[in-house]
């Protein structure tokens, strides 16, 4: 075990797979010589050569298209989209092409592309460096969707994503690259000393589709992913109420059993995500919980989410779900 931040653990996952699988190639904007604008691919080109880790033209649609083609022809491409907000020029290639290749070819072709992309707010990125577009992909059959939250699951999930034979969109909460984020912009802890910063140097994987129960309690089930896992942890502490906290980790497929079992135990449910509320993945979960846990629910399911507006710059702390909003929602679920 080595103490790592999320940048280092993601880098370690990529390094392991570059070592073990000659078909793994890594590319995207500024990922080669420079090692990525967030430094996730730092040192990989130097170590593994510019045939395996390289810069591309600045064209997300093109990056996704060549990834599609390489994956189809036997390689295991890992492409980076520099910010999730810039995934949309590639949207057609992902949604209409990668997602449907296996099905449209009667199972004869498939393309195991992994799309890594930093997502989410908290860095004063305004409209176009802050969005969390996971539900634009969870609504697309044929794509798996993963959202890591800490150094340990980042590495294990990324290895699973790359080894998965289906295309995977892998979201990295950029606010948590160097430390967990508890919703207070003035408190900037690093990962040092955090239980999930102990990361094996060697290969390990966390199965896609499994959630992680990170806090245990009996009065309410709180579900979150990405940076919101840590904000929810703070919200639970502030509420003083005993809660299960489920870090969903995989959104498609998601660990419905873990959620349903917890809600059956607690009878209450709060879902937290930073993306807008309307058609957010919380809506899907809320509907499923209602279908499966109707007779166990003691109060309405609460959703604490970003607003149905573009992501702001100066006022981002009023946009992102805060521990206070989460604590209030937890308390509302306890009312008779």
């Amino acid at each position: 075990m080595t103490e790592m931040n999320m940048i280092q653990s993601l880098n370690s996952a990529l390094d392991n797979l570059l070592e073990s699988d000659p078909n793994v190639l890594i590319f995207g904007e500024d990922v080669g010589y420079f090692g990525g604008v967030f430094r996730v691919t730092d040192g990989l080109q130097e170590k593994h050569g510019s045939k395996r880790v390289f810069d591309t033209p600045l064209a997300e649609g093109g990056i996704a298209a060549i990834a599609f083609g390489m994956g189809l022809n036997g390689l295991r491409p890992v492409m980076e989209i520099q910010f999730a907000d810039y995934i949309f020029p590639a949207y057609d290639q992902i949604v209409n092409e990668m997602a449907k290749l296996r099905h449209r070819s009667g199972g004869e072709f498939s393309t195991p592309v992994t799309i890594r992309t930093p997502a989410g707010g908290g860095i004063k990125g305004g409209h176009h460096h802050s969005q969390s577009p996971e539900s634009q992909f969870t609504h697309t059959p044929g794509i798996k969707v993963v959202y890591c939250s800490n150094p340990y699951n980042a590495k294990g999930l990324l290895i699973s994503a790359i080894e998965c034979n289906d295309p995977v969109v892998f979201f990295e909460p950029k606010r948590c690259y160097r430390g967990p984020f508890y919703g207070d912009p003035h408190n900037v802890p690093t990962w040092k000393g955090h239980e999930y910063s102990e990361v094996p140097e060697e290969h390990y994987s966390i199965p896609l589709g499994e959630a992680n129960l990170t806090m245990e309690g009996d009065k309410c089930t709180v579900i979150a992913w990405g940076a919101m896992v840590h904000v929810a942890e703070q919200g639970i502490k502030d509420s003083g109420i005993s809660c299960d906290l489920i870090d969903l980790q995989s959104l498609v497929p998601w660990d419905r059993d873990a959620v349903v079992n917890s809600v059956k135990k607690t009878g209450r449910c709060v879902i937290v995500h930073e993306a807008p509320k309307t058609s957010g993945f919380g809506a899907e979960m809320s509907a499923s919980v209602q279908e499966r846990c109707f007779y166990h629910l003691e109060s309405p399911i609460e959703r604490v989410t970003g607003w149905d507006t573009p992501f702001p710059h100066s006022t981002e702390w009023d946009y992102l779900p805060s521990p206070q909003r989460i604590a209030e929602a937890i308390k509302r679920t306890q009312e008779d």
């Binding site: 500024d30 010589y33 305004g126």
Partner: protein, 413 residues
Amino acid sequence: MTGDEQGGDSGGFAVPDAPSRPGEKSHFEPWTYTPEDLSQPDPKTCTAEDTADHSEGLIRVLDDDGVASGEWNPNLSADELSLGLEQMCRLRIFDDRMMKMQRTGKLSFYMRSLGEEAIAISQTMALQNHDWLFPTYRQPGCQFVRGRSMVSMINHCIGNVEDNVKGRQMPVHYTYKDGHYISVSSPVGTQFSQAVGVAMASAYKGEDQATITWIGDGASAEGDYHYAVNFASVFKPPVILCVVNNQWAISTHKNFASGGENFATRALPYGIPSLRVDGNDFLALYSVTQWARKRAAAGLGATHIEILTYRTGAHSSSDDASRYRPADEHEYWPGGDPIERLKNHLILNGDWSEEQHSELEQRLDEEVVAAYKEAVTHGDLANGPWPPASTIFTEVYEEVPWHIQEQREELGK
């Protein structure tokens, strides 16, 4: 080339590299271009083929000694030239101050135009005041030419209560409708093809109004660049399509934007006249823009321009350029510095002096400091006051729909 070439020992595809990386010697091929090289074709009759030499060569007016000559000399008055010099200096000093303020946390982020000041200033000066400007983040200088108050620009950058875009966008993403300057959007390249539509609307309405737009060498790899050139070739609206080839896209050298050396010649097979211009030559920029404007006015459609320059500073306040290129690379750029070149030209003509220049810099610095002091009285990003949280919910739609109204009440601010 230090990259692996196709057919090398390990086979495989080609991966280019930058000409020099940190620790290596900076190098550019010396320029042999002179102001006498290229004729100025008649804009009213010129075809794409007539610009073959102009897209292969380089249009220059100022030579390395600061002497202006050749058919592209716009013969501007000393007053016009000293105004251009003043605006470029204003932009550079403004950028310096904003960068310092970014370092102290007053801004979240900043991007300078360093080394590229001539582009926005000269090209905007060469246009009509009602022409549309569709910029990237690297042409904020247009706004000085169109008369925007510096205080208002700073209010935006520090996201305070007086920011005209209400703290919604990152710094440098200006909106200035009075100056016909369209909101900067972060996704690179999108403006380029949108500009073609703006120009089609002007043509439809029968207005003598041109649209100029810029895109970086890096972003010219995006589909939007190619949509723009193709749609402009089909519909022939009054648009001026400029590729600012400043050699770098963050850490990615322009060798990755295209396998070819030249960006200007790309437009020729589309039937669009295309020019390649020295981007650090204020006079040449002015002249090519005026030429393209004449084509627009005559209903002859688009002009495509490659502006050859160098990004002297880092990409933004977020990166350290010396990690991916030699720290002194800009000193080797054959095009020199745009401010120094115009200044030397004016001095050579007897229209300017070192003393006047220092006085100007002194005056501009005071102007910027005063503007900054005034702007912070309305708040700054570090300390507020910021635009009220209610601005999150307004102007998403023309009217606030019920679900957003409910969310606003839930926030309770």
